[in-house]
């Protein structure tokens, strides 16, 4: 299979399955210039589906320039284009295609936090419209050398990894995702009646209250690739300690060896082997940034290895992840924050998960329930 046809398949799944573009839809495509081959394919497929494609292409270096040189009012400003897009789009396809994932390392974390806060109102509109069914939005990644570098892979190895993770090497990717979606839905329903989840592993013993919350199956409509079932924990009922196995990159900066202690739902202790200052700055971003807005099981067995990118790492079959910051309203979670930072914990060896005291998951696999 040549790379062109893989890009074409990815574009096809995004337009026809993930976002179900229909006639008359205004489709915003948000991408970096490195994703040009995917953008061109999407453009053709959106047109073929009767949609109206609209492009916002980033300019390499502009965001960094704003973060370095912008005044406070400039950091706080949001362009009318972005606002209109969020308010008007029927569909949004966001493509990550970094050419340098660490470009913001030297930027002062406070300035980065400020720029994140400025976009919070837009994020709120986005989530509200998505929850109300007015906006179908998917996030994906186009493989670049920079992302491959983070994964310690060559670009061609990384491309293989990305397309395999999206099940695009299968005969019928849409059929596969549809079948997975059904299984995830069954698991979500089975988890739905539970009151507490307790995760036990190396350096980790964390209990989360989930009573009354909805577990949401993720089948490639909002993230692509996908494969998780998540909920929003009860805001005051997260207690204990969790150690995250993998480093986490956020807004172009990396934090590693993170350990968090929660009491009454709030982070009361945060340590990191790498990037501690940035972690603390992000935790101080706003009130919601110290809370767990999301807890999730990673269920994509085509993603087996850590690659340094949350879109994939959080889907690794046999992991759980917890996000600091904003909840997804559809889960019933109520954390509001400019932050949503996924941190991943590998449970594939020496780990257990209890649901209401019952052992349901061991060493990365459910041993009870429908899976």
């Amino acid at each position: 299979m040549n790379s062109e046809s893989r890009v074409g398949r990815l574009a096809g799944v995004l337009v026809d399955y993930s976002t179900r573009v229909a006639e008359g839809d205004l489709v915003c495509i948000d991408a970096g210039p490195a994703a040009a081959p995917l953008v061109r394919e999407l453009w053709r497929r959106v047109l073929a589906a009767g949609g109206h494609p609209h492009l916002r292409l980033d300019v390499e270096g502009a965001q960094e320039l704003l973060l370095r040189e912008g005044s406070d009012v400039q950091l706080d400003w949001v362009s009318p284009l972005r606002r209109s897009e969020v308010e008007r789009a029927d569909v949004r396809i966001a493509i990550e295609a970094d050419v340098n994932t660490r470009g913001n390392t030297a930027v002062h974390p406070e300035r980065q936090a400020r720029a994140e806060r400025a976009r919070e109102p837009l994020r709120r509109i986005h989530f509200a419209r998505a929850s109300a069914g007015e906006l179908r939005a998917v996030v994906t990644l186009y493989p670049t050398a920079a992302a491959a570098q983070d994964a310690d892979m060559s670009l061609s190895e990384y491309e293989e990894f990305v397309y395999r993770a999206g099940l695009l090497d299968r005969e019928d990717p849409v059929g596969e995702w549809t079948a997975l979606g059904r299984r995830f839905a069954e698991l979500a329903e089975w988890l739905g009646g539970r009151k507490t989840i307790r995760v036990v592993g190396e350096g980790t013993d964390l209990t989360l209250g989930v009573e009354g919350r909805t577990w949401v199956p993720c089948d490639g409509r909002e993230n692509f690739p996908d494969g998780e079932v998540f909920t929003g924990p009860v805001e005051t009922a997260v207690n204990g300690t969790i150690r995250f196995s993998y480093p986490a990159t956020y807004a172009g900066r990396r934090v590693g060896g993170v350990e968090l202690e929660f009491r009454g739902g709030e982070v009361v202790r945060a340590e990191a082997e790498e990037g501690g200052a940035f972690l603390r700055e992000m935790l101080a971003l706003d009130d919601g940034a110290r809370r767990a807005g999301e807890f999730s099981f990673g269920l994509n067995d085509a993603v087996a290895e850590f690659t340094g990118h949350a879109l994939f790492d959080e889907k690794i079959g046999g992991t759980v992840h917890l996000a600091l910051g904003a909840s997804y309203p559809e889960s019933g979670g109520r954390v509001q924050s400019a932050l949503h930072w996924d941190l991943v914990c590998d449970l594939r060896s020496g780990s257990e998960v209890y649901a209401d005291g019952e052992l349901v998951y061991r060493d990365g696999r459910f041993i009870a329930g429908p899976l």
Binding site: L26, L47, H54, E69, R88
Partner: protein
């Protein structure tokens, strides 16, 4: 390594052309090949305290739309585009094609339908520009495609473009301020003339300009710039003209155009190549046979024809006389779907008389112009 000329061009555009101020919202339009200039403009705008954002297109997308789009898709204008245009204080357009002929084989009718729909938006934009609510400047970032049209290497073309913008030297803004003063003086001087007579090889044309306003194109709307122009009286063009450079309209060339005017209208037209196209454009509508513009090209850094009107119409020592729509701000009354700039090289043996007095010979004005700063513009700097 950034080319210092790109940085100076960006500064010239924000400080001189747009006079960008703190708090203004500025959008930078380009294709992806213009990214180096987009980034420098973004930087210059941030430093000016403005709120810049970028609107960058990707080559190949227009072709897809024009090839695959339904009627509805071709005519679609998104609410996003409408909302944006009302909120801009300044706009820069960077022309930066990676293939200037990418649309050559597109069905002309579909292309026309798309352009017609987009015109609603551009009309609103022009309304805001002429109302003084929006400042706009169009410029070009050199690419191989544009260099190829000009029959140059990219390096040669970069030298050509940046020299024409005068950003090869420090402080291009002072250069353009001086140009502005000079052009305003010329415009004032020409404003007194009732009639111009243009004499050259197979050219002897009288153009009535009494009561019309001459305007100085001094780098506000275009960079590079350098012309003075007006819209002639619609019924008083008499005689004949031979255009030495190919006349290009929508990327199609017509060579060696000869026109004869009577009472303001073209009564005879022929071309050595592309004659059918010439005739069809003349028959586009009632205004297509009438001059909408007469202008002197006065940028002597632009010394050759490069198949790009941004530069060609400003070649120092040429005149261009455009068929079709006139400029209301110059007093022009002709309306047409056409505005076709055709360029006449007068550098070898051309002469221009104003009310019988020789004012221009071999591509240069003879006397120093009146040094009188007319109204706004320079004073505001």
């Amino acid at each position: 390594m950034t080319d210092g000329r790109v940085e100076r061009l960006a500064g010239l555009l924000t400080d001189y052309s747009l006079e960008l101020r703190e708090g203004q919202v500025v959008r930078i339009d380009s294709l992806e090949a213009g990214a180096p200039l987009v980034l420098e403009l973004y930087r210059a705008a941030i430093r000016a305290g403005a709120f810049p954002y970028t609107n960058v297109g990707l080559s190949g997308l227009s072709e897809s739309l024009l090839q695959l789009g339904s009627e509805e898709q071709l005519r679609y204008l998104s609410p996003i585009q409408w909302e944006e245009i009302e909120q801009l204080d300044a706009l820069v357009t960077i022309w930066s094609e990676t293939n200037t002929r990418a649309l050559s084989r597109v069905d002309p009718a579909r292309h026309a339908a798309h352009i017609a729909a987009q015109r609603k938006l551009s009309n609103r934009r022009w309304e805001r520009i002429s109302g003084g609510e929006l400042s706009w400047c169009g410029t070009l970032f050199p690419t191989n495609a544009h260099a190829q049209e000009a029959e140059m290497s990219l390096a040669e073309y970069e030298d050509f473009v940046f020299t024409a913008c005068h950003v090869h030297e420090d402080d291009p803004a002072s250069h353009w301020s001086a140009v502005s003063t000079e052009l305003q003086g010329r415009a004032a001087e020409l404003g007194a003339a009732r009639e111009l007579r243009i004499v050259g090889p197979e050219t002897d044309l009288r153009v009535g300009v009494e009561g019309r306003t001459w305007l100085a194109a001094d780098g506000r709307y275009n960079m590079p710039d350098g012309e003075v122009f007006t819209s002639p009286l619609e019924t008083e063009t008499e005689g004949e003209i031979r255009y030495t450079f190919p006349a290009v309209y929508h990327s199609r060339e017509v060579e060696d155009v000869r026109l004869r005017f009577e009472d303001g209208r073209v009564v005879q037209a022929e071309a050595a190549r592309g004659n059918d196209y010439l005739q069809s454009l003349l028959d586009m509508d009632a205004g297509a046979r009438i001059l909408g513009e007469v202008a002197f090209g006065l940028n002597y850094e632009i010394d050759r024809f490069t198949r790009n009107i941004l530069f060609d119409e400003k070649i120092g020592g040429t005149m261009h006389l455009a068929l079709g729509s006139g400029f209301p701000q110059a007093g022009g009354q002709n309306t047409s779907g056409l505005h076709w700039d055709m360029i006449c090289d007068l550098r070898e043996e051309g002469e221009v008389y104003a009310d019988g007095e020789l004012v221009w010979k071999a591509g240069r004005f003879l006397a120093e112009p009146v040094r009188e700063v007319v109204e706004s513009g320079v004073g505001e700097l």
